[in-house]
């Protein structure tokens, strides 16, 4: 891999500026009109890509591009090898076996895949030999699907629609005022009729890490192991070391473009017994064994869920991204990136608390005493100034943040706002980035003539 080019003894002090230098867009690529350096604090929406990812994709396209899993020419064989090699690499990144990892176009596609697969099962389309397993999770009239109040629309709307199609009822676990999931309420909501429990590992607005193992255990106990647990790992995959099998969830999804990888590629992880039992969603080429005019037999997972032409160069790019992440860990020592991001999280949260008129969404006291874990993203409201206007002023200082509802309208409604500002960091974010952002933010209310 070409990622960290200079060598330092493992455990050397983390050098975010050196890591950032590997990202062309962040080191001069993005040209701001007045020459100001870009302060990119929107990595939770999409992360930037290191040169290693761009090179891997380009190199694949220039030397190996061809159709995978079909054709007998040697180029196709080589492309297939790289494609499946990428699967192994990315599967290892989340502690999984290659056959437990399905390529999708992104997390949204992965969640829809699971929801539609369960809908198909509810309509009687099951995999021969696995009927009993899938029937446990397929909701019917009177059954319940559980989500949380903090979900991104991608982990809410597909379940709403599945409930509407099957006659099931959708229920939501609330969050406390400090952004921490209400586990007592969860214990009351998850029950005998629960067929699916879908929740995020880290909320894309609150930044709070949910207690996955506890929720999985709670679900197992309340349902006798009947409910399917679905994890949205989009915001954890870039920041936390993931071992999905150890977390115990049945399925999980994440997107490539949030973990330094390309757009248009993502992953669905599933426990082997789960993937084997789920009927297919998208149907077509490359996922079948025997097709007659009357009926079709399907391939085992993961191919069963990969109909049609796959995003091959993007998959290769995503493998390069996780290699890059591993390279940075090797260069600076295990846990160095996490420690850097914890520092950023603290600086961001404490800095924001000091700005008059700023209210944090998800300001859990438990972070500082270690009982609550967060990642370095923080959404907030500026009293008297709309999020859009805040974003515009920050933009004029070269600071890119997200404004709006971040695809989590119910959560914003719960906090009494229609929109918020969100600053989010990644391993290439420096403490100077955070300070520039805080300095720019401190002038916003005065500009709009509020708080004087």
């Amino acid at each position: 891999m070409s990622a960290p080019t200079t060598t330092a003894p493992a455990g050397a002090a983390y050098d975010a500026a050196a890591v950032r230098a590997e990202f062309p867009l962040l080191s001069g690529g993005a040209q701001l009109p007045d020459g100001a350096p870009l302060v990119y604090l929107d990595s939770a929406a999409t992360s930037q890509r290191p040169r290693a990812v761009l090179d891997a994709e380009r190199s694949f396209l220039e030397t190996t591009n061809s159709a995978v899993h079909r054709g007998a020419h040697s180029l196709a064989a080589e492309a297939t090898e790289l494609f499946e090699g990428a699967r192994e690499t990315v599967a290892a990144f989340v502690g999984a076996q290659p056959e437990q990892l399905v390529w999708t176009s992104g997390a949204t596609a992965g969640l829809n895949l699971v929801a539609y697969s369960l809908g198909n099962a509810a309509a009687g389309r099951t995999v021969p030999g696995h009927e009993d397993a899938v029937r446990q999770w397929a909701p019917g009239p009177g059954d319940e699907i559980v989500v949380t109040e903090a979900e991104h629309h991608a982990n809410l709307v597909p379940w709403q629609e599945l409930a509407a199609r099957t006659g099931a009822r959708l229920r939501a676990v609330p969050v406390h005022d400090d952004g921490v999931l209400d586990l007592e309420a969860a214990a009351a909501v998850i029950g005998e009729r629960t067929r699916v429990v879908a929740f995020s590992h880290v909320s894309n607005v609150l930044g709070v890490v949910n207690p996955v193992e506890q929720l999985v255990a709670m679900t197992r106990e309340a349902t006798g192991g009947r409910a399917l647990t679905v994890l949205d790992a989009c915001q954890s995959a870039p920041h936390l070391a993931l071992d999905l099998p150890a977390l115990g969830v049945d399925v999980a999804v994440f997107s490539g473009h949030k973990v330094l990888g390309p757009n248009g590629v993502g992953c669905l992880y599933g426990r082997t017994e789960v993937l084997e039992a789920l009927p297919p969603f998208l149907l077509g080429g490359s996922m079948v064994t025997t097709v007659t005019l009357e009926a079709t037999a399907f391939l085992p997972p993961p191919q069963r869920f990969e109909a049609g032409t796959q995003a091959v160069s993007q998959a290769v790019g995503l493998a390069a991204a996780v290699d890059f992440l591993r390279g940075v860990e090797e260069r600076f020592g295990e846990g160095a990136v996490a420690e850097h991001e914890r520092r950023l999280e603290r600086r961001l949260r404490h800095g924001l608390r000091e700005v008059p008129g700023v209210r944090l969404l998800g300001d859990a006291d438990g972070v500082d005493d270690g009982t609550v874990q967060r990642v370095a993203l923080q959404a907030f409201d500026v009293e008297g100034v709309h999020a859009h206007d805040v974003g515009q002023l920050l933009d004029a200082r070269g600071v890119a943040v997200r404004v709006g509802h971040h695809c989590a309208q119910p959560l914003h409604r719960r906090f009494g706002v229609t929109a918020s500002v969100r600053a989010s960091a990644a391993l290439y974010t420096t403490e100077d980035d955070v300070d520039t952002f805080l300095d720019a933010l401190s002038g916003v209310r005065a500009y709009f003539g509020v708080g004087r």
């Binding site: 206007d389 004029a396 929109a419």
Partner: protein
């Protein structure tokens, strides 16, 4: 203040008159207190990107030379550009013939989509001419358009 508003034409966007209208909000009301009368129609518009919304009610009455926008009232929440634009629009079209408001909306839309190429005429648009600067900020055009789209829709149905 530390944020330098002059950089990148920010002052062209947030002119004083714009910020002033965002505070005064001409026509802002609680619509529950204004039952829909004859000749009135209400339009609800939403910007799905940021969740901003406006509910605007237009009252259209017959004038000597055709229908006239007799009154406009609205409620909603949004950024300073959307609130200011609704306020300026209300001031501009109260008492104006429908035929003319149609032309005004069409001209405003054209200017907003022009990426800074077209400036609104102050004689014709009054305070709303100050919104010309918005068209350079393509991410904000929808904010400025929200009330105008609502008026167009309400007047058509009134």
């Amino acid at each position: 203040m530390s944020a330098s508003p002059g950089s990148r034409g920010l002052d062209a966007l947030y002119q004083e008159i714009v910020l002033d209208h965002a505070k005064r909000r001409v026509g802002f009301t609680s619509l529950a207190d204004h039952p829909e009368q004859d000749g009135a129609a209400t339009s609800h518009q939403r910007n799905p990107v940021c969740g901003d919304e406006i509910t605007l009610r237009a009252v259209v009455a017959d004038g000597p030379e055709g229908p006239v926008v007799e009154d406009v009232v609205w409620e909603g929440a949004g950024c300073s550009i959307s609130q200011s634009s609704a306020s300026m629009l209300t001031e501009l079209v109260r008492g104006v013939p429908v035929e003319q408001t149609d032309r005004l909306v069409a001209g405003f839309r054209e200017a907003m989509r022009s990426r800074g190429a077209l400036a609104l005429d102050e004689e014709e648009y009054g305070d709303a001419a100050a919104l010309s600067g918005v068209s350079k900020f393509t991410a904000r055009v929808k904010c400025a358009m929200l009330a105008w789209v609502a008026l167009e829709d309400a007047v058509r149905r009134a």
